[in-house]
Amino acid sequence: MALLEVKDLNKVYEMGLFVRRTIHAVKNVNFTVDQGQIVSLVGESGSGKTTTAKMILRLLAPTSGDIIVDGINVWKDIKTVEDKRNYYKKVHAVFQDPFASYNQFYPIDRILYQALELLGLNTDNPKAKELLEEALVNVGLEPKNILGKYPHQLSGGEQQRIMIARCWLLRPALIIADEPVSMIDASTRGGIIKLFEKLRDDTNTSVIFITHDLGLAYYISDKIFIMYLGEMVEEGTPDEIISNPKHEYTKNLIGSIPTLYKKWEDLEEPDNIRVS
């Protein structure tokens, strides 16, 4: 059985006070993610990929449809605070902007202890400190250089690593990573990506990458889902998508991404892309 099952998911935003306007942000989206799988949701701004992620994370209620994680219907079965706690032990998120994920007035230890509290471990518990240090080592950080520091004293890459350290503490079944490396310098990006791979290999967690970067999705995923204007237009293994894209949007996208090992042949041709 799949770990995550998304069935006929829809989200319609209604806007305007007098004149009603509706935006169909997510249209009849279906997909599944197996345990231990890394998948990517790829699409441009406004394609509905982040909206989908927010619905899985219980941050935004769907208009219709079902999201089932490990047999639990996320928007129907979770009722009590206890249910919620259990859900967030199972599903965890890493967001795009590491600078916005921290409260600047507290040392970064706090965000790690919060994760431990979710596990029911008290701050004073000696086991807590041990787990915490182990998690930091797992993401390539030296605990004594990190603990006690404030967010502004750390680089974006280090901050993002700490967010992943939280995943090592909680060992969730599913991680939703929304553009986790788009604000990180290129030379450190590879290291962060590899942390997700390691986490998957060691703890058999599933990861959903939300990204606009097809190159990244191609490298890391077992399966890629392409979203366009709220619809899931294509899915397949990375090699299927790259070598044989079916939807017009995917074809265009692949044709426009600069490649490293092959020079474009159509650079001298006049544009056929019309921009409104």
Partner: protein, 331 residues
């Protein structure tokens, strides 16, 4: 490739004054740009690549200080020594006519209350002492818009009426109005989506094909983009050039360990990428106010040797047209 030198940069140092110390953003850079070349300058944030773009045309403003070196520009009949010229002089006879620069995010800095047409007439007034016939200039601008495949009607629009790609192309058209020999573009594709990026790259390609500009300097952190447009790639690290090679050579066989690391951190949807894997460079770039002795890449380098800590490698020619600053190749 023709061997007409367009711009010669010789051992240039330009520092930012910060209190009583200097941030050495461009520290002993030598680079020759020849006719017909598209030179891509790449490097991480803070490596000095944008500073270098301003130093190239001697657009030096405090706290940036020109410390040493010389910069010569071919203006046809003779060479001008840019570093000896006054700012007013540069403004009158060099900027806009011989060289042109598209600063980072220029397309988002257009005056929102002015139409593109008014922007053009303002520019012309600034660069010419005697008033030129405005209609003639506007006609010329329209032709340039046509040249790069944009409808000339756009010059009667306000910037906010244009999409990102159109705005960037309008900026390119205006920057090349006087057919500058050298066009410098700083991150011209960075804030655009990939389809629009490709369109802008095509525009640059066309400018060169039509010989509207003779050479282009393209500054970016995106190596795959440089690979598509450049004939030569220059890699900067901590204020210095570490490698300068023809594009095919550097992609096939990067020499400097930093170049290798950078290339290995690029992910594009290509089977080669999966085969070669992904890696990262440990550590962070040095503080340019206090750079390490010896090679600046030494602390992060995987092939470091004892000599690297003590002596500084210089940029040396190897295999004919490649240059690298590393002791691995300094035998």
């Amino acid at each position: 490739m023709e061997d007409t030198l367009i711009l010669g940069i010789n051992n240039v140092k330009a520092y930012y004054a910060k209190g009583d110390q200097y941030v050495k953003a461009v520290d002993g850079v030598s680079l020759d740009i020849y006719k017909g070349e598209v030179v891509g300058i790449v490097g991480e944030s803070g490596c000095g690549k944008s500073t270098l773009s301003n130093v190239m045309i001697m657009n030096i403003r405090r706290p940036l200080t020109f410390v040493d070196g010389n910069i010569t520009l071919n203006v046809g009949a003779n060479f001008l020594e840019l570093n000896k010229m006054e700012r007013q002089e540069l403004q009158k006879i060099v900027w806009g006519r011989e060289t042109s620069i598209i600063p980072q995010s220029a397309m988002n800095a257009l005056m929102p209350t002015k139409k593109i047409r008014d922007l053009i007439s303002d520019l012309v007034k600034d660069h010419f002492e005697r008033a030129l016939d405005e209609n003639e200039i506007i006609e010329r601008a329209k032709q340039r818009f046509r040249d790069i495949g944009v409808s000339p009607d756009y010059i009667y629009r306000y910037p906010f009426e244009l999409s990102g790609g159109m705005r960037q192309r309008a900026v390119i058209a205006v920057a090349t109005l006087l057919n500058p020999r050298l066009l410098i573009a700083d991150e011209p594709t960075s804030a655009l989506d990939v389809a629009t990026q490709k369109m802008v790259l095509k525009t640059f390609e066309r400018l060169r094909k039509m010989e509207i500009v003779e050479s282009v300097v393209f500054i970016t952190h995106d190596i795959a983009t440089v690979r598509q447009i450049a004939t030569r790639m220059v890699v900067m690290y901590a204020g210095k050039i570490v490698e300068n090679s023809p594009i095919e050579d550097i992609i096939k066989e990067p020499l400097h360990p930093y170049t290798k690391g950078l290339l290995l951190s690029v992910v594009t949807p290509e089977p080669e990428v999966k085969k070669r894997g992904l890696s990262n460079i440990p550590g962070t770039p040095p503080d340019l106010a206090n750079p390490p002795q010896g090679c600046r890449f030494y602390p992060r380098c995987s092939s470091r040797m004892p000599i690297c800590e003590e002596e500084e490698p210089v940029l040396k020619k190897i295999n004919g047209d490649r240059e690298v600053a590393c002791f691995l190749f300094n035998k």
